[in-house]
């Protein structure tokens, strides 16, 4: 219900109440009355046909940088990844019933059984 998406302002209509925004190549007209500061090139956050806020590019970069610094363990360690990946590459034929196990209810990995 609170679905809202960042989209780039392509152009502002005269009067400044409406704008065309672009999201991954899709364009749509939205109301920008609630973000009077928005200019072409800015990213606004669109909700029910209205821009309700703006993206601060510097803050976005900072957050992403923060994510990047987190590296401590290697990726790909999800407990159930292995059987999935075997299936994906065709190295097992199938998983038995109830498999692959959910890590949240299991204390460790489960063996892969041929059906």
């Amino acid at each position: 219900m609170c679905l809202a998406l960042p989209a780039r302002v392509v152009s502002l209509a005269e009067g400044g109440m409406d704008a065309v925004v672009d999201l991954g190549g899709v364009r749509k007209s939205v109301c920008v009355a609630l973000v009077p500061e928005a200019r072409a090139g800015d990213y606004v956050i669109v909700h029910v046909g209205h821009a309700i806020g703006m993206i601060d590019p510097e803050e976005a970069a900072r957050t992403l940088a923060l994510f990047g610094e987190l590296a401590a363990l290697e990726a790909g360690d999800s407990v159930w990844a292995e059987p999935f990946d075997k299936l994906r590459t065709g190295s097992v034929e199938a998983l038995p019933p109830g498999q692959p196990a959910s890590p949240s209810t299991s204390s460790g990995r489960t063996e892969v059984m041929a059906p």
Binding site: L3, G24, V26, V46, R88
Partner: protein, 354 residues
């Protein structure tokens, strides 16, 4: 000399004329509509029999395949197609998903009083062109007219008749644990293209419907398995309800589970974007020129190669595997690295997209 004028009928006004109740009453106006609009567009010797139905040569061997679909799409014209070609492709594909070569189509029209004849002509011409391109004949039909406000422009029900070679069986009940799941290309274009025309949504995108006839692709896939056509276990076109619903149907009919890899499922970026905008999931968006194939693991490479060699399968991909699962869950490893169920479509994702 006879004073009776030549059997002259004023030609249909296809510029500004409209469908009226007379066109459905079975009299001279109905005959005229058929003769001036439908016959030239669909022309073939079977239709020209002009009977209540068509008498056709019986195919030599195999199984007879019959499939039907009603088309009630709104709007009638959309980027990449219209209800006319869609009504051919939709049914040709259902025949093809039975592993069959489509031969004949019947077409039943329900027209709303007041529908512009110019639009009807466009639609009927598009149907004719699609049928010719697909190599099928529209051999018989029917036209009814309903009062203004009791229909919506035009509804078209088509039924296809085809023949499947012996040994071919692509029913949804054939998936087995260990089978490989393939799709023939990027998903969701049809639904997004149609939605982009809805007045209430009004977004702009370069996406066009993928509507296309898939029987030639299917023929190539079967040809890639000479003598072991039976290894192609399941064929389905993920139309209404999209890939998610189609796979759930198969899982249910076959009594199996499935695992998909989100990262391997081909979706165009603009389709992704449009879905984000509308709060939709591309896995539930309709396709009209894509198929899902489930085959024995040892057949997967050959089938995939055959698909990729066909223009309509250029972006074919292996997207998952069939599992043993009494709950018949279709599960997906998300791009994020998580896992979730890919459930049946619940409720109505998009109204009237086919």
């Amino acid at each position: 000399m006879s004073t009776i004028k030549k059997d002259y009928v004023r030609p249909l006004n296809v510029k500004t004329g409209r469908v009226d109740m007379n066109h459905g009453a079975g009299g001279r106006a109905a005959t005229q509509l058929i003769e001036e609009l439908f016959l030239p567009a669909f022309d073939n010797p079977f239709l020209r029999q002009g009977h209540d139905g068509a008498a056709l040569p019986l195919p030599a061997a195999g199984r007879l395949v019959v499939a039907t679909d009603a088309h009630v799409i709104s709007p009638l014209f959309f980027p990449g197609g219209d209800i006319g070609c869609l009504s051919v492709h939709g049914t040709v594909n259902d025949v093809a998903m039975n592993g069959a070569t489509p031969l004949y189509l019947s077409a039943s029209f329900i027209l709303e009083e007041g529908f512009p004849l110019a639009d009807l002509k466009r639609i009927v011409d598009s149907m004719g062109a699609a049928a010719r391109e697909a190599g099928v004949s529209i051999v018989t039909g029917d036209t009814k007219v309903v009062e203004k406000g009791k229909g919506d422009g035009v509804f078209i029900s088509t039924t296809g008749v085809g023949v499947a070679a012996p040994g071919v069986d692509t029913s949804g009940a054939n998936a087995r644990p260990g089978d490989v799941i393939l799709v023939s290309g990027t998903l969701g274009e049809h639904g997004v293209a149609v939605l982009s025309q809805r007045e209430s949504l009004a977004f702009e995108t370069a996406i066009v419907s993928d509507t296309a006839a898939l029987h030639a692709l299917v023929a190539d896939m079967l040809a890639a398995l000479p003598g072991r056509e039976g290894d192609l276990h399941v064929l389905r076109d993920p139309t209404r309800g999209g890939l998610a619903t189609t796979l759930n149907e198969i899982a249910r009919q076959s009594g199996v589970g499935m695992l998909l890899w989100e990262a391997d499922i081909p979706v165009l970026p603009q389709v992704d974007a449009a879905c984000e905008l509308l709060g939709l999931d591309p896995l539930y968006v309709a396709n009209e020129g894509k198929l899902v194939a489930i085959c024995a693991p040892e057949a997967a490479d050959a089938v995939l190669a055959a698909m990729r060699a066909h223009p309509l399968g250029a972006h074919a991909a292996r997207i998952g595997a069939v599992t043993e699962d009494p709950h018949r869950f279709v599960q997906m490893a998300t791009k994020l690295g998580g896992r979730r169920v890919v459930d049946w479509l619940s409720g109505e994702q998009l109204p009237r997209i086919c």
